[in-house]
Symmetry: C2
Subunit: 352 residues, 2 copies
């Protein structure tokens, strides 16, 4: 899922996203809550109509952004009390309110509010946060059911068929994650996410935790690894049972001049590309690769042209979405094992 934090994937129009093959985008509840406000979005008919995007949208719960505010938030059993990064106003985000806000936004997939763990964390700290996340998930689910039953008059629902995902937490402790997964499945959600990974732990540990957690989640429901990752992580984690990902890496790195290719990553600002008439990636069929050379893209980047961000974003998203498409094809044609070996060998070679 390309990340469209404020209701727009940075530097990409919706049409480019659709052409790159994006079937769903992610939007951030925290940002939209503060600006333009969930009630304004509801009055516009919901997020789809407000932003003009017809395909599915997943909204997070706001929990991770609130957690990222560090000094500006206090977590209690009731919820997260935080201060807006925009104007310093104080807000309380409870599991119920996170559900209400996402109901007003009218995303297709909503997430429960969870407590993100500050690292490094002891087992006790991880256990406390995990247990609270289970209680919050239960409250989130109850609220969604009440909303869908029409029992909450003051909240305007713009997408009645909204699905909700539980989030498995537990830090880097697999027994806690097992307990969390079991509790989430007991509550019962349309899908399950794995949160709190890819936060600085060694990559092999992340892979192992993702694999062991995915194994505890129902096969017939989508399993979503939050905030991951590099192209090779997508392939490796699909191999471990993951179905869905979101990450700012393709879009953020594009704006910083880092491009993903079938031969590894390149930094387009590098002087070696000043006279390189070839495309970013000879294997890629995106607009950028069909129309522009590395030399031109380097010029745009060095000259500070916004179009550099636009063209680079388009390429990186195409590369990511192509990767997921190739993974699906390989699974369908039972060639995934070969695909995985070849992909990791070529893509992980670093800057060519």
């Amino acid at each position: 899922m390309p990340v469209g934090t404020q209701g727009a994937v940075k530097a990409a129009r919706h049409r480019e996203l659709e052409e790159a093959g994006a079937e769903i985008i992610l939007a951030n509840t925290y940002h939209l809550l503060l600006r333009p406000g969930d009630e304004l979005v509801a009055r516009r008919g919901g997020l789809h109509r407000f932003i003009g995007w017809e395909r599915p949208i997943l909204t997070d719960s706001g929990g991770f952004q609130v957690y990222s505010l560090a000094q500006r938030r206090v977590i209690t059993e009731e919820g997260a009390d935080f201060q807006s990064h925009l104007d310093g106003t104080r807000h309380l985000l409870t599991p119920e309110q996170a559900a209400d806000i996402q109901t007003r936004l009218g995303s297709d997939l909503a997430m429960v509010l969870d407590e993100c763990l500050a690292l490094p964390a002891t087992r006790d700290q991880a256990a406390v946060a995990m247990s609270r996340s289970v209680r919050w998930a239960e409250r989130s689910r109850q609220r969604l059911l009440a909303l869908q039953a029409g029992e909450v008059r003051e909240v305007q629902a713009t997408n009645p068929g909204q699905a909700q995902f539980g989030i498995v937490q537990g830090g880097l402790f697999q027994d806690l994650r097992d307990e969390s997964a079991e509790a989430m499945v007991a509550i019962g959600f349309e899908g399950y996410a794995i949160g709190g990974l890819s936060v600085g732990e060694p990559i092999e540990q992340m892979y192992t935790l993702a694999a062991d957690t995915a194994r505890r989640l129902p096969q017939e429901r989508p399993r979503y690894l939050m905030g991951v990752g590099a192209p090779e992580d997508l392939v490796e984690c699909v191999a471990r049972g993951i179905d869905m990902f979101d990450c700012v890496l393709p879009t953020r790195n594009a704006r910083n001049g880092q491009l993903f290719t079938s031969e590894g990553r390149i930094n387009i600002k590098n002087a070696r590309y000043a006279e390189d008439d070839g495309p970013v990636d000879p294997q890629c069929g995106c607009y950028t690769c069909r129309h522009h050379s590395r030399a031109y893209l380097r010029h745009l980047y060095v000259a500070g042209e916004m179009t550099a961000g636009v063209l680079n974003t388009l390429h990186n998203l195409s590369f990511y979405l192509d990767t997921m498409r190739r993974i699906r094809d390989a699974i369908a044609f039972r060639t995934f094992t070969n695909f995985r070996q070849e992909f990791v060998r070529t893509v992980s070679t670093g800057t060519p």
Copy 2:
């Protein structure tokens, strides 16, 4: 002509320009000379191939940008000695070099080097600059003919069929402009430009000078009014004999949130648009107006999203290019007088 200073119209991909109906873009010789350099562009096969744009390109001579450097340049009979705004290096831009550089860039339409007049200017100052511009135009033309005859071995031509425009100067003194126009026609160019207008003089004076100057230029050659203007200026100046324009207004104002519409200009950041579900301009068929509301565009602008610049640019360019298309249609159907009255009445009403 949309302005693509550094080889890219800011915030627009080429495809959007083509869809908006851009038949030609302008690029700035001064900027491309300094970065990435005209020789690098020539090695790429010229500007068209370097930037991936197949339709015509007009390059200016660099004269106006050098003039704009104010304290950083010295004008002599030989040419303009200036200091780069990027790295402070000194460069000499002569009429011959301006022709050489544009030959390397391989634009379809090249401009002669002219001396731009610092304002306010006395008649004597205007006469001196005008006379020098005539001598520079003569040298520019001789150089182009030598280049096209293959007499300048060290300059790589990437577009042998390049046309060249003379530029009429003379400040705000019509008799000087008459003299300049006569001299330019005597030298003989594929087209003629009117420079040094729209630099702070009253709009009616600009219209009168443009009209009286256009009258002195051959009807069967394109007449190009440089650096103009607002939408109503396009209509008013076509009525006075002008065929071509360039201006940063549509693109620059788009990035600042000012949008041109069939009912006047609007500032999209205005709070009145926060809950406005209508398109920027109900008369417009551009991508932005077809897919997005004023409320969403305001949100993107206020939130600082790059996509605001992209979508606003697309709309403003579409509005300008639609205006030119409507002018051509009105002339063809002999309804231009009515069109002009109606256009100026509706578009000039200011912010609705």
